[in-house]
Amino acid sequence: MRGVSFHAAAALLAAALAAGWPGAAHAQPPPGGTTLRVAITQDIDSLNPFVAVFLSSTQVMRLTYENLTMVGPDNAVQPGFAESWQSSPDGLTWTFKIRDAQWSDGTPITARDVAFTYTQIMTNPAAQDANGSAVANFAAVTAVDDRTVEITTKEPQASILASDVPIVPEHVWSSRVGQIGTATNAEQLPAVGSGPYVISGYQEGQSVTLSANDRFWRGRAHVDTLQFVRYENADAAVQGLLKGDVDLVRDLTPAQFDSLEGNAAVGRNEGRNRRYTELLLNWSNPSGVDGQPFGDGHPALRDVRVRKALHHAVDAGAIVDRVKQGHSEPGHGIIPPVYPKWTFTPSDSQRRDHDPERAKALLDQAGYRPGPDGVRVGPDGRPLTLRLIAGNQVPTNPQLLDFLAGWFEAVGVGVTPQIMASNQIDDATVAGNFDIAVSGWSVNPDPDSTLDQQTCAVNGTSRSDSGYCNPAYDQLYAEQQAALDEGKRREIVQRMQSLLYDDVHAIVLTHDALLEAYRADRFTGFVTQPEDGGVITGQTGYWGYYGATPVAAPRAAADAGGGTGLLVGVLAAVVVLGAGAFLVARNRRRSRDERE
């Protein structure tokens, strides 16, 4: 019997080792030179540029595949795959001159690669997952010759220069057309790309390795190898940074960020981010979708006076100071101040500051009188009690709800706060089954997609925001889309945001900083976007990593330490596993020795 259990244990261990084996196919040659390790707390959904949508994956895509044009560190359009471009007088045809450069395998880059990539996305449904919306307005993309590509659009499209579509090499992908939606792009490594780095190794669920591209047209990157290492747990990632297992971590909580202050080895970056946090007020707008009201929002929210009152009740300054520990700035419009060209500041007469008295007066005007228990009651006798929901993925949300509930109750609005899983929030907001929801979106340097999100057309889709629908706004949206003169477009975008503000389509609360930390004793030169106080990771470009430079030979020392650690650790591993086997085997051996 003891024999049975010992053999079973041994077999189990052997099977486990065999099954858990990382596999020789995935083993990578030891990266020569310097390696910058970046912790990612989100999985990689795919390395295939046609289907990858997770932020972690699109970061890798941006490093591997150039776009036709790039957004520079100053958030302005720069040459990328194309070195120059011009549009026809009617704004319907764009001609791009393709750069004389090479793919990472030495094949020349041509206009046919561009035509192939765009045509696939336009014609092959399997290739549309990631960038289908970018080509929705395209009529045709043709390679006129090796150096010239022509894009014709159905309507004039000002945002064409900011299209974030990775251009893939035709000579690699033309043979994969049948599997374009399912290919992992890790079948043949290193992948062929045109960016500063190319994917050279992939361990599913663990890490992605990128090697500097010797043929990158801007010049080889300073750091030889980039590794994105998966950490499921942000606390563990911070510990990994302190120990030196990783060199760069992002998306820290204010508490984690503040705890790193004063550590000489660690540099911190409080980057002005391209996100906004808002309170969605459910409009249940009857003019949305098919003209029918949808969802079950409180009818009081259709009254602009109530929405204004809620805005006056909120103290954005206190959210910045006390919930976000100062790592944030109050917001007014949906375009963050990190894009000064497009951001909106309300005029003094428009502006709604924290003013509970004004809020009470507005609610009185709207016919909501204080009830016996302090909660206001509407003309229909229905109490003004609102459901307030927020997702559990933002660690500061519970605290935010406490503050909001206090402010709303102070002006006589009852709330029932609830924290939910993020998919529940999505379901509730898309279906319109909520009253107030904490939400937020990331904004690209070109504001088109963010502005589009407030049009009537998106109601009832996964991009729907508040159920806002105003034909006057839609009219302006169409105008800015066709405005190829940037000055004119800016002016229209200002009017659009002013309209949103006056309608209180939602209450924009804050623009939160992205909190990042890195090993300053090992790396320097990270280029932020924007250069003045921007972010290193999560850029719409590769500048942060491309600029990184090793600090003189620190890795050798770290490796020595790691080597000793490995030795001791392996020893400990052997001892632990050995002890288990020993304990099992021990009785067996001794009883054999003492057999009568």
Binding site: A16, Q203, Q239, N423, S462
Partner: protein, 343 residues
């Protein structure tokens, strides 16, 4: 020695044929029961995730722009536009062929994803289980033999404290002390990023990464084996055969190891097997703390989306593991304990 249950195992094999038929029927019945359970799980797996409120296509397209045409195409691609009974028939046919569908998130076959994550989980839980069982049984038998002693109180107390500590917290403390403070182990993952060359260095690399998650798991689960062994041995200790053994002049140590422990071990076997499935499911927390790329972590991520085909797949995999262990426990117990067979 022939009067002892342990040796009876060997002699019992030469029993009359009537008993052999009984055994065959028992084995068939146990296996049949297991298969029925698996069947029920497969059916349940389909309906359980269909009652989740919300639209799967909307979950799939979260955070990405998409038009109505694309959504309709996705719906068709995943068969979500078909009536529920038709979807169910498709699903049963697919499962029968070992095809668990395509993950919404990874856009790849679920079977392939699960197989990739199974190894790390089996390695982690397998090694943790071996160490925890050995440690728990050994400490438990010692503690029971000298029950009430200082050793008993310290061993039992420590085990119970570790058992009640939240796994997440214990893991993070272990990480801060042993990985960061003492610089002995890596802070996460199963291999060094990018992997290492050569078979032996790669084995050592995995072993190095394994220590902290494995020990954290051991610390949390070994208490149950200790307690079961301890109470089971305490029950045996009053038995007459021990007096007989002592009367034969055997040393106290031998009485414990060769006579009392084997008998006390029998109820423990069942617990061990039944527990394997639960340990696999319990790996979720440890895998999350140490970013161990296993099945627990995968389930956790699939639940957050939610990725229905992937959830179905992990549910079936984990449930089959539990059922399999149940069947093995039933069969093993019968094989090991002649009293069960005789009854």
């Amino acid at each position: 020695m022939s009067d002892l249950p342990m040796t009876a195992v060997a002699t019992d094999l030469a029993e009359p044929p009537r008993r052999g038929r009984g055994s065959a029927a028992f084995v068939l019945r146990t296996l049949g029961g297991g298969l029925v359970s698996v069947g029920l799980i497969v059916v349940l797996g389909f309906f359980l995730f269909r009652v989740l409120p919300g639209d799967p296509v909307r979950w799939m397209t979260r955070d990405r722009p998409g038009n109505a045409e694309q959504l309709a195409r996705l719906r068709a691609e995943f068969g979500l536009d078909r009536p529920l009974p038709a979807q169910f028939v498709d699903y049963l046919a697919d499962v029968a062929r070992g095809d668990l569908g395509t993950s919404y998130v990874y856009n790849r076959p679920v079977t392939e994803i699960i197989l990739g994550r199974l190894g790390p989980t089996v390695l982690l839980t397998g090694s943790a289980l071996v160490v925890a069982v050995a440690l728990g049984l050994w400490l438990g038998s010692r503690a029971a033999w000298r029950h009430g002693s200082v050793f008993d109180r310290i061993a039992t107390g420590t085990a119970l404290v570790l058992w009640s500590v939240p796994t997440f917290w214990l893991g993070l403390i272990a990480l801060m002390v042993f990985a960061v403070g003492l610089d002995l182990f890596p802070t996460g993952g199963m291999t060094s990023p990018g992997g290492v060359d050569g078979f032996l260095p790669a084995v050592l690399d995995v072993a190095h990464h394994l220590v902290l998650p494995c020990l954290t798991m051991v610390a949390v689960v070994y208490a149950q084996y200790l307690m079961v062994m301890r109470s089971s041995l305490l029950e045996e200790m009053a038995a007459d055969y021990l007096t007989t053994a002592r009367a034969k002049g055997l040393r106290e140590d031998l009485v414990r190891r060769r006579h009392a422990v084997p008998n006390a071990l029998l109820p423990t076997i069942t617990i061990i097997f039944l527990h394997v499935g639960l340990v696999v499911a319990g790996a979720v927390t440890v895998e999350t703390v140490f970013s161990w790329p296993g099945l627990g972590l995968l389930t956790y991520q699939a639940l957050a989306v939610p990725d229905i085909p992937l959830l179905q797949g992990t549910l079936i995999t984990l449930s089959v593991a539990v059922v399999l262990m149940n069947v093995l426990a039933d069969l093993g117990y019968r094989l090991l304990d002649p009293r069960v067979r005789a009854s």
